[in-house]
């Protein structure tokens, strides 16, 4: 395969990956998540790596690393787990040419089209911006919101991307309990005058950027799920060789071997699809990239559940406890595999695009 990454970016990303591994590779993931001192330390270490400005383009005084080069960092995150929202911090600067995404929460209820009516969207209403969006990933300290604003009517495409500082009157943030300890969630209500927000993009530009943002969120989620699958497979393989029952390692039983072999098959197939998706991304147009992003995300959702649930089965009872990190990987997998629409809805999106594209040609 031709290497699409420029030499200096490859090296930079490799150094970042090494740095990230040394930040996250120490100690158990269960110490790094939730509201804890260790979580705060991890956050500080990520800040030292410059995480929230890695995606910033050169015109915003950033390193100008393209999303397809940043994406493998999320695989490293998946292998180790850390409090988020990490993918959003990489993408917001890259897509909207921001210098830094520290403390920004992304409010985009339309990212999961099949659920938008229930999750909620923010809309333009004469001279105001209004709406309530649930399930927003909350940074530990919120300093602002990046809000995707849809047109006044249902079904309108995004017409505005606004940046709103926080705290501000007319904006409320209500934290809700999250099933995934690596992600804090909140419901955000907005009712502010359009004149009071900073417009990051408007009109066709906004629609294009939001399409790109949603595509990259899916690709980065798929990369993170790849990391989770690889880690759970590795841990399960180790466990199957040290855990003995009936006088021998459980990994010598064919029933257990076949679970692990299938986990390996799925995990490797996901890594191959991520690699090909990233390889093709620079040359792909926005619609092509969107279809590829939906595709890799749909596969990742199915693979990560299969692999983490298989890993739990291999670990048996101990895997079900909070004594091991496995449960965190499983909870993260469950969250990631629904957060951008889930497998079934995504497959429908893909199918309708394939059918619609052909209808348009006919």
């Amino acid at each position: 395969m031709t290497d699409v990454v420029e030499a200096d970016d490859t090296q930079l990303v490799q150094e970042l990956q090494a740095g990230l591994t040394s930040v996250l590779g120490n100690g158990a993931a269960r110490d790094r998540v939730g509201v804890s001192e260790s979580a705060a330390r991890t956050e500080g270490a990520l800040a030292e790596l410059g995480w929230s400005s890695l995606g910033a383009p050169i015109e915003a005084d950033g390193p100008g690393i393209a999303p397809w080069d940043l994406a493998p960092l999320m695989t490293t995150v998946g292998k180790n787990l850390a409090p988020g929202p990490l993918a959003e911090m990489l993408l917001l600067p890259a897509v909207f040419a921001l210098a830094d995404a520290d403390g920004l929460a992304l409010v985009d209820g339309g990212a999961t089209p099949a659920w938008a009516a229930h999750v909620g969207v923010v809309r333009q209403a004469t001279d105001r911006i209004r709406g309530e969006v649930a399930l927003v990933q909350r940074p530990a300290t919120i300093t602002g919101l990046v809000v995707v604003v849809e047109g006044p009517e249902e079904g309108d495409s995004p017409c505005l991307v606004a940046r709103i500082p926080y705290p501000q009157s007319g904006v409320s943030v209500d934290e809700v309990v999250s099933a995934d300890p690596t992600a804090r969630l909140c419901t955000i209500s907005i009712d502010v005058a359009e004149a009071d927000v900073e417009v990051l993009a408007a009109g066709a530009d906004a629609a294009r950027m939001v399409q790109d943002l949603r595509s990259w969120r899916r690709v980065l989620a798929a990369c993170e799920m790849t990391g989770i699958a690889e880690r759970v497979l590795a841990d399960s393989l180790d466990y199957a060789q040290v855990r003995h029952q009936f006088g021998r390692a459980i990994g010598s039983f064919q029933a257990v071997k076949h679970i692990l072999a299938e986990m390996a098959q799925k995990s490797m197939s996901l890594s191959a699809l991520c690699q090909l998706t990233l390889h093709r991304a620079p040359e792909a147009g926005p619609d092509e990239r969107e279809l590829a992003a939906l595709t890799v995300y749909a596969h990742a959702c199915e693979v990560v559940r299969f692999v983490t649930e298989g890993g739990l089965q291999v670990h048996g009872g101990i895997g079900f406890t909070e004594e091991l990190d496995l449960q965190l990987f499983i909870k993260r997998a469950y969250a990631l595999s629904v957060t951008l629409g889930g497998a079934a809805e995504t497959l429908s999106e893909i199918g309708s695009r394939r059918l619609f594209a052909r209808e348009a040609v006919c």
Binding site: M1, H258, L260, L276, H299, I350, L355, R358
Partner: protein, 401 residues
């Protein structure tokens, strides 16, 4: 530049176009231009008709220089890389063109002769194999040797310069149409372990003592056969590689079978999806969310297969030989094939019970045929269970049980 080659029967083949060695992207342009200029054949579901059409198509591809893209020029190929071949297969799919027919020869036996054959064997056997003039079959499995292939019993006794072959093979695809057979047989019955006494012979199916009985399968096709060898004489010059070295060649063959066969199936099931999308859109009837989901599922399965093949191609290019990752390829292929076919036949709902019906414009007969065939994917070429054993022990390093 053109070359003229001779077949084993001595009949000269007409000139085959020799392509210039060029970059993959230049090659793709060339393939596209050529595909635009020819009539792509329509392929029937009925077996005989399908065979005839695809064999003629293989000849057309051969004459244009697109068979054996990554084989040596002396073997009738173009001397290009596996990436070129992958690109060619992708362009075939894009153009809605079928893959050629000589599957066993092209994907399994040919690469082995190309790698282990004498210059004479390569020169005499390979061009006619590429052109489709000669169809090959693979005599590996036996009634008592399926997943446990090494336990096969067909005997070849060397007497002077002639082997005398006795035994029975089964599940021999296309044997009834084949003029040659790649035969795995016992040449040293005392060898321990047994597989060190196996040899790989290239047998003329028209030789006295060869009898073929087609077996009709649940698809309605009869591509599988039983083949009986009763005192069949095979000249020693038709031994591939060294005496008693057949197992190694067979394993290598099976390994390349997986990579090549996966590329071919990517084209064929890709085509099934595209045709189904065409049929649905042409009928103008949108079903419901289930349709979208089924098409989406098939699309994702094909993308997964394509990305796996891209990795395989990198590995084949580095020519590391058989690798337990081949078994991952086989498992990914099985799953892709079964997911695509199952998703698509489900679009017909209850009408799959009546294959001549055309709900929503769908060719139900073809969907049913291909779906049933896909169920064999996890059996032939080593069952999924055998592949998982290989993955677990040789790739993941789990202890033997």
């Amino acid at each position: 530049m053109t070359t003229t080659t001779a077949t084993s029967t001595g009949t000269p083949l007409p000139p085959k176009l020799q392509l210039k060695s060029n970059s993959v992207s230049e090659f793709v342009d060339l393939v596209r231009a050529w595909l635009d200029s020819v009539t792509i054949p329509a392929v029937a579901v009925e077996e005989n008709e399908r065979f005839t059409v695809l064999r003629a198509w293989q000849r057309t591809l051969y004459d244009a220089g697109f068979m054996g893209v990554d084989w040596a020029v002396e073997s009738g190929g173009q001397g290009l890389t596996p990436q070129h071949r992958l690109a060619f297969m992708r362009e075939l799919a894009r153009a809605h063109a079928p893959a050629p027919i000589g599957l066993i020869g092209l994907d399994v036996v040919g690469p082995s002769i190309e790698k282990y054959g004498t210059p004479e064997q390569r020169r005499t056997l390979l061009p006619s194999l590429l052109s489709g003039e000669e169809i090959w079959c693979q005599g590996f499995s036996e009634p008592g040797a399926g997943s446990d292939l090494a336990s096969l019993r067909t005997r070849a006794t060397l007497n002077g310069d002639v082997f005398r072959v006795d035994g029975q093979k089964v599940w021999t695809s296309w044997a009834s149409r084949a003029s040659r057979c790649a035969l795995l047989c016992v040449t040293d019955p005392e060898a321990v372990p047994h597989h060190r006494g196996l040899s790989y012979l290239l047998v003329d199916m028209n030789a006295p003592g060869v009898a073929v009985r087609p077996i009709r399968q649940m698809t309605g096709d009869a591509e599988f056969c039983e083949v009986f060898f009763d005192g069949v004489e095979v000249p020693r010059s038709q031994l591939l590689g060294s005496l008693n070295d057949g197992w190694r060649i067979a394993l290598d063959t099976l390994s390349s079978e997986r990579g090549n066969y996966a590329m071919r199936r990517l084209v064929e099931i890709g085509w099934l999806l595209e045709d189904t999308i065409d049929e649905l859109t042409r009928s103008g009837k949108r079903l419901d969310a289930r349709t979208d989901e089924a098409i989406g599922r098939a699309h994702v399965a094909l993308a997964v297969l394509e990305s796996q093949i891209a990795r395989t191609t990198e590995r084949l290019t580095s020519q590391t030989g058989p690798d337990p990752v081949d078994s991952i390829d086989k498992l990914v292929l099985n799953e892709a094939e079964q997911v695509v076919c199952e998703s698509l036949v489900a679009l017909a709902g209850p009408f799959r019970a009546a294959p001549q019906s055309r709900p929503f414009g769908l060719r139900v007969d073809r969907l049913v045929h291909d779906h049933v065939f896909s169920r064999a994917a996890s059996i032939y070429g080593g069952t999924s269970q055998i592949q998982r054993n290989i993955v677990a022990e040789r790739l993941l390093g789990l202890p033997k049980g």
